[in-house]
């Protein structure tokens, strides 16, 4: 028996060095992710353990938990946290209630010809500037001269004005596409035969929806809720524009970061923690297993 020498590979550099190919592919995004993204997050976390000298306003770079103690023991701040989480939950639920029927129609009732058009229509508002949309809602909600107040005036009712209601409505408006799109994708992936099978086994529409449709699109709902929840949690501009005196987490951070950067950093860690807790809770449901 003779052994045959394997000829060395004749391909290009990338073919001969698969590892180099991987570096070329992922080098730039990984450096971005590690240096800039995780780096800034680490800097934020580090800053949260420093303080500011009360007289000079200079940074004192010694480790202390003072900021976190402040954040978690001052009732006003706890209220801001609770309010912000409440707003984020309300926005997520509203988006869900609006998105499911719309996405269902888009994916399963609209004809194939209409589907891309409907997706484009859902995406169109994302082209408009965030600020324009927020100010549009300011014009809608404004207590005396707003569109809603003007409509309600003949009925003798005042408009909702600025406040929590305005924030929830505006954020729901802003983030709705982020819920519709994943849920639409979820409905599109749902095989027709699943619904047929459920009907075949005697289930009416509502039963099929509860026992088959919702469990199967649950991962899509979760994906959408991560968007709406975390985007709402970090928002502060909407609160400034339509929130009146209502403050969210972001507003507290914004007010403090010039005068007391370490405190602002400690406060900014909170939404990060809340989102992490949310993701952990979601993971326990198993919804992320099939993503």
């Amino acid at each position: 028996m003779t052994t045959v020498e394997l000829a060395s590979p004749k391909g290009g550099f990338g073919y001969r060095h698969p590892r180099a190919r991987l570096v070329a592919l992922l080098g730039a995004p990984m450096s971005w992710l590690i240096v800039i993204y995780l780096g800034s997050l680490a800097a934020l976390f580090l800053t949260a353990f420093w303080t500011v000298d009360g007289f000079t306003g200079a940074l004192v770079r010694t480790f202390t938990l003072e900021n976190f103690v402040d954040v978690f023991t001052t009732p006003a701040y706890l209220w801001v946290m609770a309010r912000t989480v409440g707003i984020a939950v309300a926005v997520t639920i509203l988006c869900l209630l609006l998105a499911v029927p719309v996405a269902y129609f888009m994916a399963r009732i609209a004809t194939k010809r209409w589907q891309p058009l409907l997706v484009a229509m859902i995406l169109t508002p994302l082209w408009a500037s965030y600020l324009v949309k927020a100010y549009a809602w300011r014009a809608m909600l404004s207590p005396e001269s707003g569109v809603i107040a003007w409509f309600l005036a003949p009925l003798g009712i005042g408009g909702p004005g600025f406040g929590i209601f305005g924030i929830i409505v505006t954020l729901t408006y802003l983030w709705l596409p982020y819920m519709i799109l994943p849920v639409y994708a979820g409905f599109s992936r749902l095989p027709d035969s699943m619904l047929d099978a459920s009907a075949d086994l005697g289930a009416k529409g509502w039963r099929t929806f509860r026992s088959v449709v919702v469990p199967l699109i649950f991962p899509a709902i979760v994906a959408g809720s991560i968007f709406t929840f975390s985007l709402s949690l970090g928002d502060y501009i909407t609160a400034q524009i339509v929130g009146g005196k209502v403050q969210m987490l972001g507003n507290v951070v914004q007010q403090n970061y010039v005068t007391n950067l370490p405190f602002a950093a400690a406060f900014a860690v909170i939404p990060v923690l809340i989102v992490l807790i949310y993701l952990a809770a979601v993971r326990r449901t198993g919804a992320l297993d099939n993503l």
């Binding site: 099978a197 009907a199 075949d200 086994l201 009416k204």
Partner: protein, 344 residues
């Protein structure tokens, strides 16, 4: 007296845009029979099944189940169950939950539900798989779960939409035998959609051959195979072996298109003569195909066209490749020749 007809279709029609998928079909399915709808893809056989199940609404015609008109009844209110081509098992439920689903929807008490699901899974030999998810099962096992999920409801009629299509050949042959046994045990009417003629011939009490939305022939496997009513049936069920009118006129002495099954045709080497009562003609061997159990001959006929003859490799020399290009005689018992219509 029990109505002997389980399903009765009258003038059943379904259009998709300009295409007439099902064109005025009349059919009676008898209680307890295994009936196959056999046809090529796009023939409308699955649409017929989906209309019986209620997933598609007919554009015209009526559907009766055991004498009751269900044409406009929703699927959930029909006493039929379906085994889907892709099985359509619910991926988020275990095998046991899948099988119990129909009973749970009908609010059957838990104890009975569990017991019946166990019995159904045992009948398809999956008793130990209750806690698995569908993703953890093989294709054949999923197919049997789908069967158990349908049978556990004890429907009057079971509809099967190409349930064996996704399985490999060995498993498919094994499941054909099992399905037939299960059907005999439970005594439920089976309506089985397939494009595989062997499957239809193996399992069915009766076969309905469908082409382009119309019924070409209804009959027992023997009738359909040995007495194909149309040229389409002759070609689709078994190997097409048609004698064109010119050749038929010469050999058989009667006009029209005729058909003889390949295994009925004897191949004679020069010098041998055909037995009495046989029709015979000469031709040139174009191809000799060895297929293990048998050898196929494609023989060109002098007046054009060709016939296929099959010879069992049971005795004598089985290496017949040297016959290629030679002149041979073909003969068959005239009892086995059948005139076929182009269309009923």
């Amino acid at each position: 007296m029990v109505n002997p007809v389980a399903i009765s279709l009258r003038g059943l029609t379904r259009r998709f845009g300009d295409v007439v998928a099902v064109n005025s079909i009349d059919l009676d399915v008898l209680h307890g029979e295994f009936l196959s709808l056999l046809g090529p893809s796009g023939s409308g056989k699955t649409t017929v099944l989906r209309m019986i199940a209620g997933f598609e609404r007919p554009d015209a015609g009526t559907i009766e189940l055991a004498g009751t008109d269900v044409t406009m009844t929703a699927p959930y209110a029909r006493d039929v169950n379906t085994v889907f081509q892709d099985y359509a098992l619910f991926p988020h439920m275990t095998v046991a939950e899948n099988v119990q689903y129909g009973l749970r929807v009908k609010k059957v008490a838990k104890a009975e539900r569990v017991e019946r699901a166990q019995a159904a899974l045992a009948s398809v030999r999956l008793a130990d798989y209750e806690d698995r998810k569908p993703a953890q099962l093989s294709g054949g096992q999923r197919q049997r779960v789908a069967l158990a999920r349908a049978l556990v409801n004890r429907p009057k009629v079971l509809l099967l939409d190409e349930p064996l299509g996704a399985l490999d050949l060995k498993l498919r042959e094994q499941m054909q035998v099992e399905l037939k046994e299960i059907q005999r045990e439970v005594g439920i009417t089976f309506v089985f959609v397939t494009h595989d003629q062997d499957e239809a011939l193996t399992m069915s009490d009766r076969i309905v051959v469908i082409n382009e939305g119309r019924i070409e022939q209804i009959g027992t496997p023997t009738e359909v195979y040995e007495h194909p009513a149309t040229a389409f049936v002759a070609g689709f069920v078994g190997i097409s072996n048609l004698l064109d009118p010119v050749t038929a006129e010469q050999v058989i002495g009667r006009p029209g298109t005729w058909s003889v099954r390949p295994e009925k045709i004897h191949v004679h080497l020069s010098g041998e003569s055909a037995p009495a009562g046989h029709h015979c003609l000469n031709g040139t061997v174009r191809e000799v195909i060895y297929v293990g159990m048998s050898t196929r001959f494609v023989v060109d006929l002098p007046a054009g066209g060709s016939l296929m003859a099959v010879r069992q490799n049971s005795e004598g020399s089985t290496d017949l490749g040297h016959l290629r290009g030679q002149s041979v005689g073909l003969s068959w018992d005239e009892r086995y020749e059948y005139q076929v219509a182009d269309r009923i």
